[in-house]
Symmetry: none
């Protein structure tokens, strides 16, 4: 999970990097608002932004405003003085949390976790097609009311297909979204998992359509 740390003080960036990397997060740094915007554009998959308010060139508020035009990212604000907090509330920018300097690294880590947990907790729907039912909350799949057991990869694959219903996905795409950007294995691994997922899907095995020379797609006949 990527975190973008925006602060003009290198010491602050280093401290957060050290602690966050120990927790398994990937850190990207920026020194000011402008650089923050650039980094977000290059790394649209950052999960959280930690942003100082007072910075040269472009301050934290303004940078957030710009960044939110691209996408509404979760943000934790850093600031030196308490009064700035009141301003923040007034601005109603949609800041997720706020930490005053000086802070303990432990506190920042706790807040990072808290914000990410809250943001990630928004799955609630159930996907249905005929007698196929995917319950995201329960992490379960039912066919004809009977729960079928999927391995983690099968489940992730299926969810990814459903999220991109009707769209052909290349093996590379599937590898990078389901397996992760750091997977260095064989393309054909996908085929094996498709095979297993199809078997698990039983009478719905044909929802996964082979797109020759490209990859696969999930397609229902509902129109």
């Amino acid at each position: 999970m990527k975190i973008l740390v925006v602060d003009d003080e290198q010491l602050i960036r280093n401290v957060i990097r050290e602690y966050a990397e120990a927790e398994g997060y990937k850190i990207i740094e920026a020194q000011d608002g402008h650089e923050a915007i650039e980094k977000v554009e290059k790394n649209p998959d950052v999960a959280l932004i930690i942003m100082d308010i007072m910075m040269p060139r472009l301050d934290g508020y303004s940078a957030c405003k710009e960044i939110f035009k691209i996408k509404k990212y979760p943000v934790i604000m850093l600031s030196a003085r308490k009064e700035e907090y009141d301003k923040l509330l007034g601005f109603d920018l949609g800041i997720d949390d706020y930490v005053t300097k000086p802070f303990s690294p432990k506190e920042v880590m706790a807040r990072i976790k808290a914000v990410l947990a809250r943001v990630n907790n928004r799955k609630e729907e159930i996907y249905r097609y005929e007698d196929l039912e995917v319950n995201y909350k329960a992490h379960s799949v039912k066919i004809d009311g009977e729960e079928i057991k999927l391995t983690p990869k099968e489940y992730e694959l299926l969810v990814n297909f459903i999220d991109n219903e009707g769209m052909a996905l290349s093996r590379e795409q599937l590898l990078s979204t389901v397996w992760g950007y750091d997977f260095f294995g064989d393309d054909r691994t996908v085929d094996t998992h498709i095979k297993m997922l199809r078997n698990s899907l039983g009478k719905y095995r044909d929802l996964i359509v082979t797109v020759r020379s490209l990859g696969y797609k999930f397609e229902t006949n509902k129109e």
Copy 2:
């Protein structure tokens, strides 16, 4: 649904009002403990009280004591310093949640929702499934009418599972809700406690289902 916000700082009251009304809640305000008691007497149908600890005239802690004599309302406490939590916990007043200042409006809203959801799920004082019985008030668990002894962590875990029946919970989620958001230990600690809880649950050990590569869920077959 009515929420009573008790804080001497108008800014805080305004912020909470603004966010809560956007979510469809009705807000009543009070500036101190005495006023809070008055407002509760006038509006006995409030669904939740958000209360600051440090206030002039009558502090939040004492106000709660008085209010609970009327009725046990769900309460979220606000406080400026962390040490104040410990006091709260020590006094075991039955606070549902607490938030440290400075807080993010979103965090408070998330907690409001969580507390209300939990309270609504607990209309009954006792959770029952077949011969499993959890008495929230008494903090006790019975199987076949026999009380079983759970350690505090086992009990908290079980209650958390029941509150989220059917939902797959990651180890991180369990750690942050049962252990607290500032727990910095090993993920696998959860496994050990699951093991112990399962052993304690005897014939109901299978109600706790492992969700491979994710965590665990509490699942009954009742439909």
